[in-house]
Symmetry: C2
Subunit: 558 residues, 2 copies
């Protein structure tokens, strides 16, 4: 493992999905590169593919096996899919974490929650300040997004300068936080950009993106015209939106109440870091319960239909003593993330049953996206004028489309999915390795690997039901007659028949009575025979092939 | 139970969801009304709420308990959510089924598949022909939709005329099948309409709907410009679209191959009934495998991402000897139904990885909806000028919005969710009863009730995992030492600890050694003790509360 120094890029998460961002850069002799990690995010589970899982993390074992090569971790911004993994995965990293003040505040809270030392997070100043990390120099280049203080990273290496955009949009009037600064970006690009590693989320959106400032003027008349209680939900991290909503409420003479843990955490962190200075006074949910409904505005979590968030709670009935009713208004100042449609619709239908008027961004400009649309991506390609464009933060189809956009503009677009190591220092970008990657599930308090079979078994039980058989064999390899069958997730009684478990027991009794002692003495053979018997009855009676667990107890001679 | 005759409306399915349509109308003395059923459809399950379920049916037990009152069943059109339940539920109905020829053809196939007598389906002529069914006279009023031969029903009763729209759009150039006939609808409305029971699916779409004829002119240049293989997916029942696609393929010099069972069944039925007359010649998948890719067009099932349909198969690799690759085009001539986003995206990403260019209706006018948008609903309100508007075919929020549209136009809009019996014959519409309703799941070959707990148990196993314990008690109520624990859907080994099942066995061994004979002799107490023990270990070690099944075997004295 030697040769000339090289510059490598290796996404461990985020390039092939929207979520779970974790990107590695390396510089040095092949196999001995000094490394930095950009972002350490989470993805959210769903019932279809990850039932019971709490959160999904990138599998960073490649990196934790090379801890001696790792210099530092850089966090672009405070969204969960970028910083959410820090508390869970810090024990596997153990290196300094760099972020700007608001993001650092959030990262420290996460470390503290997991009993880690929050002082490992160092607060970074914005570009042109640069942080040294081995052969890298990294600067936080402010950029507009849907959370305050998002940053692109300017990554200087002996192999050239890279700009890693993080998540961004081009917003010159972002309401809260730093606007997109064309001049600063142009200045950062001046030395020449080897590669632009670039957000791809909205590459399929063809119109130019809209500014956060366009939302507020629509919120004011909406809230002013409302008669009963006014409830608005949005992403808690969209502090600018929270402020626009609260100001619209205040202008309409309403008391403002924030509900939901994330809502309070975000505004608290934003206040602590001096980002939120114009936010109207808020009241507690306890006090809100005593305010007349026409004088109250709730700003609540749960715009994606999360079961335990405030929106869902309010749609199910009383919450903190408040109950929605006919004449109230509920605004989704948000977009439904693909995959959450049913959950969101469920809340809307519950609200509809209560007589609440639901308003969404289909009814007016009550939401704007936080990501750059295609024309905005083209603008950033033009400003930075990179030799290579590497799309990130997208599913494969987004990455591929974004690479095509780059190609069409005369640059080299390269699709680099998770686990692909790309060398950036040669004449042309070149794939030099494929790294085994996967996902890690936080499941209760345990970390479970994607391929451990745990979730697979859950899905199988959910699809097929589970039959449990207890059988006893004595020391002469005679099967005792008391074979027990218990079923779960299967119909107990099939129309016109005996109970299913009884039919299975009877079938097994007949089968086991004829079993020879060699089979009875062999756990594997006996189990196989029983599983087949159970599945035959299930197939005949209910047309299904259940999961089967057989517990064989062998009685010892007295 | 006597009094004056009354006219009632009772949705058993379809009013509170999109799917599973089943609407009852009745006329006669209260409790003794003569009844008709309109449509008998299915809904589709999903992993989140109905894992393992094959299809979802309306619970029609209210109706099957009143079979002596039921006169007949009328099917408006051939979509699964309107006719799909006929094969499964006919045994509970046992009454003549009326439908027009194409729909009747599909209904007979469904009955045949389930071993029912297909001759119970009678072919109806269109309105002004009327079918007598007790106090009702019912006419099939042709209307445009996304399947040939959709119909509204003109329902004459002594309490007035009702128009039940079925699913519809206003399309005066539907490519295949009957156009919307303003004059015929006006004529049907002339005697005065007591109630319009009306499709609500697209009430939130604010622009007027577009004609099926607008699609074909966009398909032709798209197919003509394609270089490699061209694959298009759409709803198999959209026969007009199939024809437009096939003609575009033929014009580009491509051989046409239909893939997927539903695709073949629909075109076969349409041909048999003389509806499809201009369809280009097709070739079999076997022959298609020998056609050069640039001369081939596949029209395939699976536009909603269904795992076993042709689209999904092609996205996973070789299918019928054909394999997609770089330079091929895959068109989604369809809309993703809410809830299917992830499955559809999964296919698109697989195709992207193969280098296939995916085209969707975001890229051009390659799809139009089959349902009336808000302005079109207003048009139909105006043409029929009913006293009452009863929105159907929608979730609660659609029904409520549609009722508001009716109110705004000076009519009486009434939201009547599933299970609500509305009297239509008084001065004003009035809720007179609430009927217990639910859903029935076809699960393998068994019918399972929504509240039977079967699916609830599956979901619990999927979320929490399942621990199985086998314990033996001798005839002196002494617990034998061989207590067995087996876990499924939980991590086998927790980092740094012994295997989870062993820890549970040890914990139980300690606990059971100290158990008194009274507890050991009582199944319920013993089970309770064991479940608590298992959950304690699980909570401590992995932070989860698993499902637990305990099998207690009591050994008899020899």
């Amino acid at each position: 493992m030697s040769g000339r120094d090289r510059l490598i890029y290796l996404p461990l998460g985020g390039a092939g999905e929207i979520g779970m961002n974790a990107y590695v850069y390396g510089y040095g002799k092949p196999g001995k590169e000094r490394l930095i990690l950009v972002d350490i995010g989470i993805a959210f589970p769903d019932m279809a593919s990850t039932p019971g899982v709490d959160i999904i993390l990138a599998d960073i074992s490649w990196l934790s096996e090379r801890l001696d090569q790792l210099e530092a971790v850089f966090i672009t911004h405070g969204h969960e899919d970028h910083v959410g993994g820090i508390g869970h995965l810090y024990p596997q990293l153990q290196k300094p974490v760099h972020a700007r003040k608001f993001t650092a505040n959030l990262a420290r809270r996460k470390l503290q929650e997991k009993g880690q030392d929050p002082s490992v997070v160092e607060t970074a100043a914005p570009y042109p300040a640069m942080i040294e990390a081995g052969p890298f120099k990294v600067g936080f280049l402010p950029v507009s997004h849907s959370i305050p203080e998002s940053n692109a990273l300017v990554i200087d290496t002996p192999g050239g300068r890279i700009i890693h955009t993080g998540d961004f949009k081009i917003d010159r009037t972002p309401v809260v936080g730093e606007p997109f600064d064309d001049a600063l970006w142009a200045e950062a690009a001046k030395p020449g950009i080897r590669a632009l590693v670039c957000d791809s989320t909205n590459v399929f959106s063809k119109h130019p993106g809209r500014s956060e400032a366009e939302v507020a003027p629509n919120l004011k008349p909406l809230v002013a015209a409302a008669k009963g209680m006014f409830v608005a939900t949005t992403f808690a991290s969209n502090v600018a939106r929270l402020q626009s909503l609260a100001i619209a409420g205040e202008a309409a003479g309403r008391s403002i109440c924030l509900m939901g843990r994330a809502m309070r955490r975000m505004t608290e962190a934003a206040r602590e870091e001096g980002i939120l200075t114009d936010f109207p006074k808020t009241i507690s949910p306890e006090d809100a319960a005593n305010v007349p409904r026409e004088s109250l505005m709730l700003i609540v979590t749960g715009s994606q239909g999360e079961r335990r968030a405030a929106s869902a709670q309010l749609s199910r009935g009383k919450y903190f003593g408040m109950e929605l009713k006919e004449g109230d208004t509920f605004l989704f100042s948000s977009k439904t993330i693909p995959g959450n449609e049913k959950e969101v619709a469920h809340i809307m239908n519950n609200l509809s049953e209560m007589g609440v008027d639901v308003v969404t961004d289909d009814d007016g400009l009550y939401h704007v996206s936080g990501h750059a649309n295609r024309p905005d991506l083209e603008t950033v390609h033009a400003i930075t004028d990179p030799q290579i464009v590497i799309p990130m933060h997208g599913e494969h189809r987004h990455l591929r489309e974004h690479a095509k956009v780059a190609d069409a503009l005369g640059r080299v677009g390269v699709v680099v999915p998770n686990g692909t190591m790309l060398e950036l220092s040669g004449n042309a970008p070149k794939v030099v390795d494929h790294v085994e990657i996967g996902r890690v599930y936080l499941d209760g308090s345990a970390l479970v690997g994607q391929f451990d079979g745990v979730v697979r078994d859950r899905i199988r039980m959910a699809l097929n039901g589970h039959v449990v058989v207890a059988v006893m064999v004595d020391d002469d390899n005679q099967i005792l007659e008391d074979t027990w069958v218990d079923i779960r997730g299967l119909p107990e009684v099939v129309r016109g028949s005996a109970p299913l478990a009884e039919m299975m027991e009877e079938h097994l009794a007949g089968k086991l009575a004829r079993v020879d002692t060699r089979t009875a003495g062999d756990d594997e053979k006996l189990e196989d025979l029983i599983v087949k018997g159970i599945r035959k009855v299930a197939q005949d009676e209910i047309g299904k092939r259940p999961e089967v667990t057989v517990l064989i107890t062998r009685l010892a001679a007295e």
